[in-house]
Symmetry: D2
Subunit: 305 residues, 4 copies
């Protein structure tokens, strides 16, 4: 398939939409990103890559970090995870407290904020004050890139304005579903959200999910085949908050978005994809990024359905 041509067509078709999204404004550090950025990278198993747009520009990966911390947590204690976090779509916005209260502090899935905070807490119980280093280290391994780091300014901003996330962790603590000090857990969580990467690096990082848990280039195994299958199903049903059904309906690929405007998706047994454009739709997912992926599966027929 002529991916170069397809990426070019996609870029042309989404350009008129650049101004329709709204950049995340809950923290100052994200608010001033230029909404006209666009980048898309494909990463194949043999190392071939296809890129278009601002693929060298770093952005805040935000909730995309959740797939990496969840991968780490599965390896640590798969059998126990279900006691702390479910695997059902939430039917609510990513930061909702409502359902969490009705369900006694057990988040619906690891890809809404509450669920990802629980996962961070589980890592913190194991790695103590080395937890963030371990997370960063893991992302450097899956991306095969030792230079990945977090953005201090974004981290400070999250810590200063993340009131709703602080509400979530305290509510779960009141239900005894958080083992560590809430401040410590949030320090790590805000840092993992503020890791900066570009679409090249992120598409590379998700390749193991397309290949049954093994990086096809380095041959390193990060998940068992069955674990990888399950993580992919979670991305499909829960990867885009309250628009997960719509993403599955329109795109038809497992994926995970972040409020920084990035989306990672995988085509099982073929490739991983990362698209970035900072303007968000009303559900908090990249408006242009979602459209670009919809065009991609329409043009290539590469849906899982």
């Amino acid at each position: 398939m002529n991916y170069t041509k397809i990426l070019k067509e996609i870029k042309e078709e989404v350009e008129p939409l650049f101004k329709k999204g709204k950049v995340a404004d809950y923290i100052p550090a994200l608010k001033r990103v230029n909404p006209s950025h666009f980048a898309m990278s494909l990463q194949l198993f043999d190392g071939t890559t296809y890129d278009i747009g601002d693929t060298n520009t770093k952005f805040s990966i935000q909730s995309i970090s959740k797939i990496f911390t969840y991968t780490m947590a599965i390896s640590l204690k798969e059998k126990e995870l279900y006691k702390h976090v479910g695997h059902e779509p939430s039917g609510n916005p990513f930061n909702s407290l409502v359902q969490l209260e009705y369900e006694n502090g057990i988040p619906r899935n690891p890809f809404i904020n509450a669920g990802a905070i629980v996962i961070t807490d589980i890592l913190a119980s194991k790695y103590k004050d080395k937890t963030f280093d371990k997370i960063l280290d893991f992302i450097r391994r899956v991306s095969n890139n030792k230079k990945i780091d977090f953005d201090k300014e974004v981290d400070d901003s999250e810590a200063e304005f993340g009131f709703r996330n602080i509400a979530l962790v305290n509510m779960m603590k009141s239900f005894k579903n958080i083992a560590n000090k809430t401040d410590d857990v949030m320090d790590i969580y805000f840092k993992q959200c503020s890791i900066s990467m570009n679409t090249k690096e992120l598409s590379k990082s998700a390749l193991y999910l397309a290949n049954h848990g093994v990086d096809p280039i380095t041959k390193e195994r990060f998940l068992s085949e069955s674990q990888a299958k399950r993580l992919n199903s979670l991305m499909l049903t829960c990867g885009h908050y309250d628009a997960s059904g719509d993403f599955a309906y329109r795109v038809g690929l497992p994926g995970k978005s972040g409020v920084g405007g990035g989306i990672v998706a995988i085509v099982p047994e073929l490739m991983s994809i990362c698209v970035w454009s900072p303007g968000l739709n009303s559900k908090g997912n990249s408006l242009v990024g979602t459209k670009a992926l919809e065009l991609f599966t329409t043009k290539t027929g590469l849906s899982i359905f």
Copy 2:
């Protein structure tokens, strides 16, 4: 693949679970079904079938009828459907009124009861007093079987005890999301739920969904390729009520269950499957049926992820 052997293994492995499920008891006609029934049928594109268990015993298809009425509605007025029903997982039980009220009478998706009732209402606006005949006719066509019919006793039972469904339709009527008389819509809806089929007939009926909308045997087209893809994504994200995420996580195939104990699933571009066992789990899906499909994808590796 030796499907005969695989089906035999599955049957042996699920037998100890027969008594763990609970037969639907909200209507007398379903309550007295023997919970030890088990049947599983595979239907391939070339007409080959594999069957095990009580595959000639008919059961009430219940909510599995929703995939057929939704197929009919897409053909009728695809562009307008989104105004009446969404395509997001609901995060709530199949018959919940809570979310419906918060979301102004627009059901989350066509596979929860409220959504399916809206779809029936849309068909009723078109086909008037011929609506149920049209539905039955359609199911006879997809199953290529003119003898399919509904069970009068189940229908009477639904009409007598379906208070919650009557609540749903009246609530939607109050939000002006039902065009016809509520009694007329419910007459049709209760009838479509009480259609009786066996696993052979049902697996045959869903084959077009595995083959991009076209019955591979009769070559009749029921949906466009894109429509079929989207219906499959809806089955994956919303096909098992509040356990849809769990089904995707454990089984990894698009599917739709009914409280009669049946589940239909498809392996894209390969086959359709129907399993039946009347004991339900706490979420209203066949307990043994779900387990059988989980074993099937584990043994065959035929997950979409």
Copy 3:
């Protein structure tokens, strides 16, 4: 106190507000009432009355009927009532299904629609097909007026458009909190809501609540002293739907409103009051009526607090 002068002042002060309310429009029969109507009647224990405005014009008493049916139900089976209906404010609109579902079909209190429907069902279990006659008879006794009747046109309209109330009764039936056929219960309920009275008749009818359960004029006892006290506390905490707190805060008297624009209130040990003006505020209570009662307690100091 010079009540004649006070009523005159109140009328003058509320006149500028006549156009601010919105007449109930959920049924045609209520929609066309002139919003500029205003009437207010005071009824003292010795038979003295004070009236101003359209005190001879009949209007639909709607939810004010709930105090009479609840009075009848208390007399019938006080000890059992708590199993069917609570006595807490609901914190939700008068016709909400949300809370009802979370609380398993037991309405919060007898003054929201669901609660009043349960009360009607309890009366229907006792009086069978004589139930509405018994209700009408009771209201004729408390008003000492044999000519009170219901408005057939309003009743027909309620039956035709009362979808949400039909949803409520069916939901409660699904929780087994309705003993009779839902259609039969709703027939009675819609009739009781469509009873027509004027402010003179209604103020007279509530006098027993101001006098410890005994009509001070006819000396007939309708409730024990303790029962009357409790019904008054229910009017204070739950009498105005989701604006009950606001009514208590601004007016400070036990009262009950209806969407026909009437409000009945009592000053314990002194008098009963009825005010009517059909324009409603956003919570479904008479806008001008609420203001008139607020002015009344401000001018007279007759609050219970």
Copy 4:
């Protein structure tokens, strides 16, 4: 009336219930209070008092502090308060986040935790780092007792385990309904909850509410007549969390309870009452205290209804 005799009768009648309540166990400092304590104090306008039981034993006033901080806030900026906190019963437990989220961070009333935290924030905007001193000072004035102080151990315990309150304040901060730093607001809030008083002191402190805002003994005015009336109506409709309707129904007096087991109530124009017994009912109010007040109004007829 022979109050001495009535108090004695009440004590005898409630004694069998001492073991039925459950002492608050969310913080260690409250958990070890002996559940068999009982004290009741009446305070009349002429200075006469009637006491029975452990009326010299101090306990944690907890949410009873909310009536004093709300009194202070009304004096500061009455006209603006409604923008920050409503005056409707909540229909939910005292620390629920659900309703708060649906209503955009504006608490239902000042007597649920969220509402009281907002009130503390309003005081903090005015009094800065002197806020708690001002609160303590105010309570010393209404109780006419300079020795009132807070319990450091309870305060530490609240700060350590008050996760749900920290969740509430952060959620409201995310809706911009908290002006100060959340940690600062909670420091003050936890301190005000940990103030220790006995029933003599507390009954004295609430006397101004029974007397139109003026302490009848010192003649000091704390609220205008209209403000006092409104605060009393709030106590009646919202003073006992999700059991406010039940308290009004059974007791019929404006009152406010705390999880320390205290309840303050007033009989307008006659007296203030404080009862204390640490065992709580399922709604978080003193089980024995509620019963004692019910017996009091039954025996004396002193209900406002």
